[in-house]
Symmetry: C2
Subunit: 350 residues, 2 copies
DNA sequence: CTGAAAGCGCTAACAG
DNA sequence: CTGTTAGCGCTTTCAG
């Protein structure tokens, strides 16, 4: 381990003091151009690396934002993160990403570590079975800006960025009805999670608004948060169940792309024509939904845009005096991407 | 912003000193059980958050590892990161993830920031058009442990974790030949990138070992690093080109899953039967490759295992005295996942 | 325009 | 078992 060279090393070589060097480095107006030149020269000569730990300690500001996601290996969260980065990078912030792996206790320890390293803010989506929110309250009480996204806690008075799941579901189901579907099943996620609740509500409302009967048998609540391949299997199992009903439904609105794709695979294997006998709509617009055949109609949540918004909320809170600050909520409209799995008029290419 | 409470606040309230509290918190054996109890109680009472910035400054150790990836929204990198996390989390390390977005200058600034915050190590995959490596040399010269993965720099004497691309390609092409293919095209990535070079070599060797002629026309070098949807398009264009050849090839080994899928889509649209008229093998085992139809044969690189290895290399370097340390290189064998796009004996399900 | 000095919060000799 | 002291590297008054 090389000896790290510091600001005072530079000062010594230049027969000046640490404070002068510090000021030169931060381009302070009170330092002469000449001196700055000298300092810069020495800096590169000695390969000086500023120590932001020391600076952070002194300034009480770390210039890092903590991001907590349930998992980073989903396109959804990955592009969300990218969306944050786009915005904050030019303001000089770095991200530190923590994965809760959908576990409450990992979520807690993540928050603790982030608080320990004195992040300037936290952007988070809550884990699937988190029901107690005291750890999030703690962030607030430490005076650290917090923005929640997607799986938000609506009762908390913090910045929120989320997608209008009610609207998305309503839009999806209306589309299916327009396509002539009359018995529409719904793969619903666990109802303690807000987004799934709202999607169910949207589904119900659309059915009712079109004067169709609601059949509880067609609403299947299941845990849609697992690794991709497992959800695919879940989709297959549910599809089988639906296909064996005496009065088989003619469409499924699934709260997960992957469950929809699993169902689609089941139907293909069992010669149930999609979309003609069974139309399908998924949720999230994962890349694979564009590639499966027939391609899957789904809802795009403009995730990287969500990330942008979350970042802006953070920046806004940072520049606002606490006494004037009011949390902002952004609700983004998802967009229905219509593909072949629901387009009855279309010929399905094989 | 609440006043942050410190170790000395606790000390004061307990009529003791900061050092005692510090020791109690680190569970030092020299502190009495009773005192520790008291300290712990106060800690939770006052909602004390340890300041790891201060601790890091003092100890010269941050307990964070910097990870630099070209992009995090690819399954490949996402699961790699997850693989690192699995291993280092229990050793108390956090990750800070930087995306170079395949840009040389972002890569440089990422390295600088990481060095500035005094990370304990850096794990990186190099950006697609990075040709100058001085920024990586700098990491070494600062005495910071470095491990390179996937797109490594073989000439650097650091820890390396990569996949045996030569083997993967050889295996893929041999498989195609076994399936009866005789004119096998290759979508090659840009040849200044090592992994693509090795895949081309593996392709060539397999062809030669089976006494087939090498036809340069069938080897198409193209930039395979873009966003997913673009590569799909590239695949379509290349497929068209191949399909118009007087002597049409009967198989493609693509260095990218997405290009292979694009080609597959083109062939389906143009009634060229896959795999019977045209067999396909991709690379990376992206989820979508299992879902497209016919499902795509591809090479799985066991990415999260790569992440595990990278993490272990880092930990090994950390515990080894610099004078005894020798960089380790791990070359992992990819696994051919045989699916329908190359299995001629199989019936293709529609 | 520059320097001296104090201190961010914690840890680790060293001393008792 | 506990306290004293110094200092990690930087920033920032305050003083000139």
């Amino acid at each position: 381990m090389k000896k790290k060279i510091t600001i005072s090393d530079i000062a010594r070589e230049l027969n000046t003091t640490a404070s002068t060097v510090s000021r030169a480095l931060s381009d302070d107006s009170r330092i002469s151009k000449a001196k700055k030149k000298l300092v810069w020269k020495k800096v590169s000569e000695l390969q000086y690396q500023p120590n932001s730990i020391a600076s952070a300690l002194r300034k009480g500001k770390s210039n890092v934002i903590g991001v907590i996601v349930p998992t980073s290996d989903r396109q959804f969260f990955a592009s969300f993160i990218r969306g944050i980065e786009e915005i904050v990078r030019e303001e000089g912030y770095r991200l530190i990403i923590c994965q809760s792996d959908e576990q409450y206790d990992k979520e807690c320890t993540s928050i603790d570590s982030l608080l320990n390293i004195r992040v300037d803010g936290i952007i988070a989506s809550v884990a699937k079975n988190t029901v107690d929110f005291s750890h999030f309250k703690k962030i607030e009480s430490q005076g650290v800006p917090l923005v929640l996204f997607d799986r938000v806690i609506e009762t908390m008075n913090v910045n929120l960025v989320y997608s209008d799941d009610y609207y998305g579901a309503y839009r999806a189901v209306s589309h299916l009805i327009e396509q002539g579907c009359r018995r529409i099943a719904h793969f619903a996620g666990k109802q303690h999670i807000h987004i799934y609740q709202n999607r169910l509500k949207g589904y119900l409302q659309a059915i009712r608004d079109h004067h169709l009967p609601v059949d509880d048998e067609l609403i299947i609540e299941t845990d849609l948060i697992h690794d991709t391949y497992s959800i695919l299997e879940i989709g297959k199992v549910l599809a089988k169940k639906l296909s064996e009903m005496p009065e088989r439904p003619d469409a499924i609105f699934s709260s997960s792309d992957f469950a929809a794709m699993g169902a689609l695979q089941f139907f293909k294997e069992n010669n149930i024509a999609v979309p003609d006998e069974m139309a399908l709509v998924g949720y999230s617009n994962d890349f694979s939904s564009s590639v499966i055949e027939p391609s899957l109609t789904t809802l795009d949540q403009h995730t990287s845009h969500m990330g942008n918004e979350a970042a802006r909320h953070f920046l806004y809170q940072i520049i606002t005096k606490p006494e004037y600050f009011k949390p902002r909520k952004t609700l983004l409209k998802p967009e229905l991407v219509i593909r072949n799995s629901s387009l009855r008029r279309n010929v399905i290419p094989t």
